[in-house]
């Protein structure tokens, strides 16, 4: 399980957002940032495919590193 943030160009309406039920959306300037926890790589590629299918412009994908204070430390 990993936390990703995906930035696409433009503001997504209700219709487009329905394509990403597992993500939370936020408008940031001219872009829309989708944030969500994805189980694996396939899920991530699934989302990228959706972005492509909807003709959206992908700006950035970022793997969010959990706050070290909150995550378990592994020795």
């Amino acid at each position: 399980m990993k936390l990703y943030s995906i930035r696409v160009k433009g503001h997504l309406g209700a219709m487009s957002l329905a394509a990403f039920p597992e993500m939370v959306s936020q408008q940031r300037g001219a872009d829309c940032v989708l944030t969500g926890v994805l189980p694996d790589h396939s899920a991530l590629f699934g989302i990228v495919t959706q972005i492509e299918a909807l003709g959206l412009e992908l700006v950035e994908i970022r793997l969010l590193v959990p706050n070290p204070d909150q995550s378990e430390r592994k020795g």
């Binding site: 219709m15 487009s16 408008q27 909807l54 959206l56």
Partner: protein, 817 residues
């Protein structure tokens, strides 16, 4: 590009098997026979076929491959090969969402690629004006510029905007609002466009968005309405992202982006409706025999039980039309839990494993499927049982597990095997596949009469259901199976199979290997080595090693016969030993097993390896040792050891008809061996009588080969002509044996022989520039006659080409320098 050129438009669809793509391509080139899929798809062959078809004329053609990004890795590699070898009169246009790994840099360097990127496709202001004008919309210069900038000249966006603008009372205001919005272009314009449509059109678009393709009837069903047909036509005319798929405009599909957005809107607004829509679509497709779409919608509706039954019913229809990938994707669409809950899917697993050559895994899945079938009353579902039985036979056929499996599945041949659940008739494809597999297994286990009948039924049925692949498969094997009837009918069926295969472009498909081998075998039996060799060479190419032991065994036997007939004993021995090895790979006894063993032993004896030869016989099982073929071998060994009495003792059961034999040719061979034994004993009346019997038996099918293999030339030559009733046959056999004289033991001698008078006459024209038809005119004979002479001359001189033949002829002083 100038002048008229044809355009072939092919859309790559991700859910389709690659074969579908190539077949559409071939059909678009105007292949004479409608291309038909085969179960065993070979990409390289497909590329060859497409190029051959393309090279048949020089008319300019443009091949458009749309959605090229949907091509799989393999398919793309084949397309790249296709493009690399493209003739000059053909051009390929690839439309793709992203760059393809085509190895295009080679072509780019050669200046043979023109690339059109998104930037080139953007609409300029004037183009935008023209587009809108065509929809009857005029905008002020300011609004036009705004619209062009907001959509960044994106064609689809402009079309969407045009749809809304056409019905909007204030276009300028629409543009102003649009440019003020930050929303994604497609999202905004879709919502606007949909809102401006009348409610019944909205409903139609939303409900049918679950479909990959739609027609009026289906749209009426899903949208609970009537008259959808004309709405779809209007939408296409209005350029509203609806395109017809056929020239009659009955089937339509939506633009990908459009459909995607409609589906999202449907799920957002009426999520509860989705499953019901899929259910209705599933029923509609299944009722009309569109099984793949039917199964997909049944799965989408979440009705896993029905989907599992449907898929299990369709396994062979899909396999026999080469839709392995489709079958795989349908199976994978079941959630893990459903695959465990529905063991009938094990049949699908088994089928897929078997196509990949994983026979053990296939057998395991098949056991699970069978246990499931046993839980249900026998009359409940014959289709499923026939499917299991057919796959068992198919596995048995490929693994050479003969005989034993027939008992398990003998009900296949009974009328009960033709019905299935709810008494509806079994799928024709399944029944024909079952008959084909049953016939082949029967054939290799030596039940030739049963095999003949079942393969004949299978061929007739597949002709009726218009399944040429199954028909060719049945006919190809029927040739061998009907050898019991006559060589003539064996050849007829085999030639029919080969001819049909040619018509469908399957001349390189392995299914015709049995037919080619039957043709090779029957010609070699009749002493026609040149024709036999021609067929044999083709069969060798189509029989990859270690894939089909029963066919390979036949291949090695026929190859051995070919060498033995031309007295190349060492080569023959290698082949007969290979045939024996094939038998050892099989779990059951092959019909020709005793032939392989017998000839291997006899050939060793003739090569002077007497101890080896005896060992081969000693290792044979008692049943096999009792066969006519092995008795003949024992007699041959005795003759080589100069023990004529022992030879006659071995032959007694064969000549009395007590020893089981494969075919009359074993009997011909036995009489000839007896003649040799009597010759050693100086019993001339018995020599004559034995040869006479051999000739009488050989006459009907022209079984000339045994005379060559047993080395009976000398005896035959001494036979006084007036004492035989078969003088013509004797002459023919002697002619043939003269051609391939018996040489010393173990030496592979090059086949040289004198040219006939007519051949010498033709030979004189070889160094000239005259073509074959010119030579034919000179000699007052037909071109075919000249061709035959050429073939014989080349063969006798061991030449492959005209220049080689001239060179050889000069070396042999047949031609002046």
């Amino acid at each position: 590009m100038q002048g008229a050129y044809r355009v072939a438009f092919i859309s790559a669809r991700s859910e389709e098997d690659e074969q579908g793509f190539w077949l559409v391509l071939l059909a678009a080139f105007g292949a004479s026979e409608t291309p038909v899929p085969v179960p065993t798809f070979n990409g390289a062959n497909a590329v060859d076929r497409a190029l051959t078809q393309l090279n048949q004329n020089n008319d300019p053609i443009v091949i458009v491959i749309d959605d090229a990004h949907e091509l799989t890795h393999d398919a793309l590699a084949h397309v790249a090969k296709f493009i690399a070898d493209l003739p000059a009169h053909a051009h390929v246009v690839l439309a793709s969402r992203h760059d393809l790994r085509l190895g295009a840099h080679q072509l780019r360097l050669a200046g043979e690629v023109a690339e059109i990127r998104a930037k080139n496709l953007e609409f300029t202001e004037s183009e935008t004006r023209e587009l809108l004008a065509r929809s009857g919309i005029t905008l002020s210069g300011e609004a036009l510029r705004t619209l062009q900038q907001r959509t960044e000249g994106w064609a689809a966006g402009l079309r969407l905007a045009a749809l809304s603008l056409a019905v909007d009372s204030d276009p300028e205001e629409f543009v102003a609002q649009f440019s003020g919005s930050n929303r994604v272009v497609a999202d905004y314009l879709m919502a606007e466009m949909l809102e401006r449509q009348p409610p019944h059109v909205q409903r139609l678009l939303l409900t049918t968005s679950i479909l990959g393709r739609v027609n009026g009837e289906l749209a009426d069903l899903l949208a609970d309405t009537t008259g959808s047909d004309s709405i779809l036509l209007e939408l296409e005319d209005a350029n509203a992202f609806v395109v017809s798929l056929d020239s009659e405009r009955t089937w339509f599909r939506y633009h990908h982006l459009f459909r995607e957005l409609l589906r999202l809107e449907l799920r957002r607004t009426t999520p509860d409706l989705v499953a019901e829509l899929h259910r209705r679509a599933a029923e509609w497709f299944t009722d009309r025999g569109y099984m793949v779409e039917g199964i997909r919608h049944t799965q989408a509706a979440g009705e896993w039980q029905s989907a599992a039954w449907l898929l299990a019913d369709q396994v062979f229809d899909l396999l026999m039309s080469g839709q392995h990938k489709t079958l795989q994707s349908l199976l994978e669409a079941f959630p893990r839990a459903a695959r465990i809950d529905h063991p009938e899917l094990a049949l699908v697993d088994a089928a897929l494993e078997s196509t990949q050559g994983r026979f053990e895994e296939a057998a395991q899945h098949l056991d699970i499927a069978e246990r499931e079938a046993e839980k249900q009353p026998a009359e409940e579902d014959c289709g499923y049982r026939v499917g299991i039985a057919t796959l068992r036979l198919c596995l048995a056929r490929l693994r050479g597990q003969l005989d034993s499996v027939i008992e398990q599945v003998n009900y296949l041949a009974s009328p009960a095997g033709a019905r299935r659940r709810s008494g509806t008739p079994l799928s024709g494809v399944l029944r024909a596949t079952a008959l084909m597999n049953l016939g082949v297994v029967e054939m290799w286990s030596g039940r030739l009469a049963d095999a003949d009948q079942h393969l004949r039924e299978g061929a007739e049925l597949s002709e009726k259901i218009e399944h040429p692949y199954l028909r060719v498969s049945c006919l190809s094997n029927l040739g061998f199976a009907s050898k019991v009837r006559s060589f003539a009918s064996a050849r007829e069926h085999s030639e029919r199979a080969v001819e049909l295969a040619h018509r469908y472009g399957w001349e390189n498909e392995t299914i015709i290997a049995p037919a080619l081998l039957t043709l090779a075998g029957t010609h070699i039996w009749a002493g026609d080595f040149i024709t036999g060799e021609k067929w044999l060479a083709r069969a060798v190419k189509l029989t990859p090693p270690n894939t089909n032991p029963p066919v390979e065994l036949l291949l090695h036997i026929v190859s051995g016969m070919f060498h033995a007939g031309r007295n190349r004993l060492s080569d023959a021995l290698v082949e007969f030993e290979q045939a024996q090895r094939m038998q050892s790979l099989m779990l059951g006894e092959h019909v020709l097993a005793s032939q392989a063993t017998g000839w291997a032993a006899a050939t060793k004896a003739r090569l002077g390896m007497l101890a080896d030869a005896r060992r081969v016989l000693a290792e044979a099982s008692p049943e096999r040792a009792a066969t006519g073929e092995l008795r003949n071998a024992a007699a041959a060994i005795a003759l080589e050891s100069a023990e004529p009495d022992e030879a006659l003792a071995q032959l007694r059961d064969v000549l009395d008809g007590r020893a089981p034999i494969i075919h009359d040719f074993t009997l011909v061979e036995a009489h000839l061996l007896a003649a040799q034994a009597y010759h050693m004993l100086k019993n001339e009346p018995e020599v004559r009588s034995s040869i006479e019997k051999a000739l009488a038996l050989a006459e009907l099918e022209r079984l000339i080969l045994p005379f060559a293999m047993t080395g009976s030339r000398e005896l035959l030559g001494k036979l006084p002509r007036h004492t035989t009733a078969h003088a013509a046959l004797v002459l023919e056999i002697l002619d043939m044996l003269e051609g391939w004289p018996r040489a010393g033991n173990g030496l592979s001698t090059p086949a040289t022989t004198e040219l006939s008078q007519t051949e010498l006459r033709v030979l004189r024209y070889l160094p000239t520039n005259l073509s074959r038809s010119d030579i034919a005119r000179e000699l007052y004979v037909s071109v075919n006659t000249v061709n035959t002479h050429f073939r014989n001359i080349y063969s006798k001189l061991g030449a492959g080409r005209r220049t080689e033949a001239v060179e050889r002829a000069r070396q042999l002083r047949l031609l002046a320098h």
